[in-house]
Amino acid sequence: MFESLSTKLQNIFSKLKTYGRLNEKQVEEVLREIKLALLEADVNFKVVKSFIAKVKERAVGVEVMKSLTPAQQIIKIVNEELIDLMGGAPGKITFAPKSPTIYMLVGLQGSGKTTSAAKLANYLKTMGKKPFLIAADIYRPAAIDQLESLGKELSVSVYSDRKSNKCEEIVRSGIKQGIAKGSDTIIIDTAGRLHIDDEMMDELENVKRAVRPHQILLVVDAMTGQDAVNIAVSFRDKLDFDGLILTKLDGDARGGAALSIRAVTGKSIKLVSLSEKIDSLQIFYPERMASRILGMGDVLTLIEKAEATINKEEAASLMERIQKQEFTLNDFLAQMQQIKSMGSFDQVLGMLPKLPGSSKNAFSGVDEERIKRVEAIIKSMTQEERKDPKTMNGNRRLRVAKGSGTTTSEVNRLLKQFSETKKMMKQFSNLGSRAKISRKISPFFNF
């Protein structure tokens, strides 16, 4: 439904041939697309507005770095600002100066508190701590059973009192028991509630007052829309929570809510949850979140890597050959080897942006094994054949397949892929800007 942000930006900038300083019109055009991308990612409307204003201020008049296109330059700025807005540093779990450290999990219904409580317990366990769980959700049917069952799986003790309907009392006794058992970390699972439900919010405030948790963590569903800000502000005003756990990030939600909450409340995102598995709680990294929100994979890291890895002259001469339509299978091979030298293949692939509305990127389905086979095929071809694949008739294809230990259909596929790549590159070179030749990065990674 939506073109990816990078495609859009590429379209805008394919029209531009000039370098130098970014002018206001260029910046505005790009920022419009970025604004839409942020809104699509569920970043709160007001946050988007002030964010864009800030980026604009920074971008207009900026000298475009030689190694980047204007689009890349602006994205770089956007990316930096996004990371900055999300606190810059990775999330951190802290401990009270005096044991036990008490964490209290709060949030709306269905945001994932109970599961997160168990995951946090597991996380603390792997850090060598001795966690303890308190089941303080006395409202949702079987909520206590759920935490007890998870506790059993983890071999972590769970305190509950099915007879009591006083949350505060349960938590107090729970903490006593946790301390008696020698636990150094105690996690309180509370019932989900609406931030506008005064009675229920009072309950949390009372628990807070009674046990003074070291950290109150707001658990937020990554799929939350524009309302995330209202929710977070209400919870902050009532409880002044300390940080966020962002759940259900394993889907394809961009997770803009996290950014909004951070921007509006100043509370940082500590941990993220990436699957239903018990060990799926991870430290939050602002860079990853920034590229996720932009929907561009870890493009900038990739650009940097590409810049560092790819030999400048080699790349320049490759560009020239592309321009002159002399791109051959040898170059294709060299490209693949360059991709490989950038790091493990999976790692590089993981950095590429996902295709819009899909969990795949353009290279999904290509694996290291496949690259190896492609290499073998090209190496079984004569230099002549590599320069002019049109000479590859049926017999030759068969020979190459045998020689490389592959099949003719694989050979066919490669030749087809090559001719498509060549076509794509021709379009590229037709844009024909001088600037593009001097660009250091591989044509595979252009915006």
Binding site: M1, F2, L36, L39, E40, A41, D42, N44, F45, L108, Q109, G110, S111, G112, Y139, R140, P141, A142, A143, D145, Q146, L147, E148, S149, L150, E153, L194, H195, I196, D221, M223, T224, G225, Q226, D227, A228, N230, I231, K248, D250, G251, D252, A253, R254, G256, A257, E276, G357, S359
Partner: protein
């Protein structure tokens, strides 16, 4: 009922509505007007696509009908959204046969609670209901449904945790036949629409149900949380592609979220919205009435 929904919506929409009334009170239909209108929709999670579409439509209409009065445009605006949300809503179940409703959705949206609410509703109209505990994955999911079963007096057909959900459904159909039940409500585990294996699992459940019951008697209901942002469109799309949805139920409208995502979904997919959830109790389920929904938005 209408008043309750209005009340619920009102609480949440003061900010939203404040903007609207202010907006329509102005007299000039200049670009600022349209822009702020778009902003309002975006803030209600309607999303860029649907917002642009609605806005363009209204710009066209305003021009064609030569409307200069913002109040008048407000009425048109309502009509336009009501039009989007009005979808032929068939009977939920066929009387005289055994019906099966399969509830699906991402984690934590309110599937199990909605099942309890639906059961309450059906029981009140004299139908015999059976629960199938086909969430065999989440800890204590079976216990949760059982608790509702005992509160509402509904039999629960269940297997062990970790069992095959399709087998649970198969057994539930047999049990329903012997016990002469009218409706089976199937609770499934929450899953992300992007998880291919788990979506296949749902397809299998549906296949089994369709083998046992004639086709029209098996219906699939997507449960969607009103706080959902733009990801809701992908949810609806992928669940629909996999299962051919018959209905949507929008939960948690008692919060401050506007639920505008359904406008975007309906704009594209035209799946009937059966009910809205407005709380955690069995009777916190209301008919979805587009007119009321939109009226409440604009109040």
């Amino acid at each position: 009922m209408i008043n309750r929904l209005k009340d619920g919506l009102k609480k949440s929409r003061e900010g939203f509505l404040g903007q609207f009334t202010g907006l329509f009170r102005g007299s000039l239909l200049d670009e600022d007007f349209w822009e702020s209108m778009e902003e309002i929709l975006i803030q209600a999670d309607v999303g860029i696509c649907a917002t642009t579409k609605i806005s363009n439509e209204l710009r066209g209409l305003a021009k064609k009908l030569n409307i200069k009065d913002p109040e008048e445009l407000k009425e048109l605006f309502k009509k336009e959204i009501v039009k989007l949300l009005t979808i032929n809503n068939d009977n939920l179940v066929d009387g005289g046969y055994l019906n099966l409703l399969l509830f699906v959705g991402v984690n934590g949206v309110g599937k199990t609670t909605t099942i309890a609410k639906m059961a309450h509703k059906f029981i009140n109209s004299g139908e015999k209901v059976i629960f199938a505990a086909a969430d065999t994955f989440r800890a204590a999911a079976i216990e949760q449904l059982q608790e509702w079963g005992s509160r509402l007096g509904v039999d629960v057909i269940k297997h062990q945790r970790g069992g095959d959900p399709a087998a649970v459904v198969f057994d539930a159909i047999n049990a329903a036949n012997t016990r002469k039940a009218d409706i089976i409500l199937v609770d499934t585990a929450g899953r992300l629409h992007t998880n291919v294996n788990l979506m296949e699992e749902l397809k299998k459940i549906k296949r089994v149900a369709k083998n046992e019951l004639s086709k029209g008697l098996v219906k699939t209901v997507l449960v969607m949380d009103a706080t959902t942002g733009q990801n809701g469109i992908l949810q609806a799309k992928l669940f629909n592609e996999a299962l051919n949805l018959d209905a949507i139920i929008l939960t948690k409208l008692d919060g401050t979220a506007k639920g505008g995502i359904v406008i975007a979904i309906e704009e594209e997919l035209k799946i009937p919205i059966w009910f809205v959830g407005v709380g955690e109790k069995p009777d916190d389920l209301q008919n979805f009435d587009p007119q009321v929904f939109v009226e409440a938005l604009f109040e």
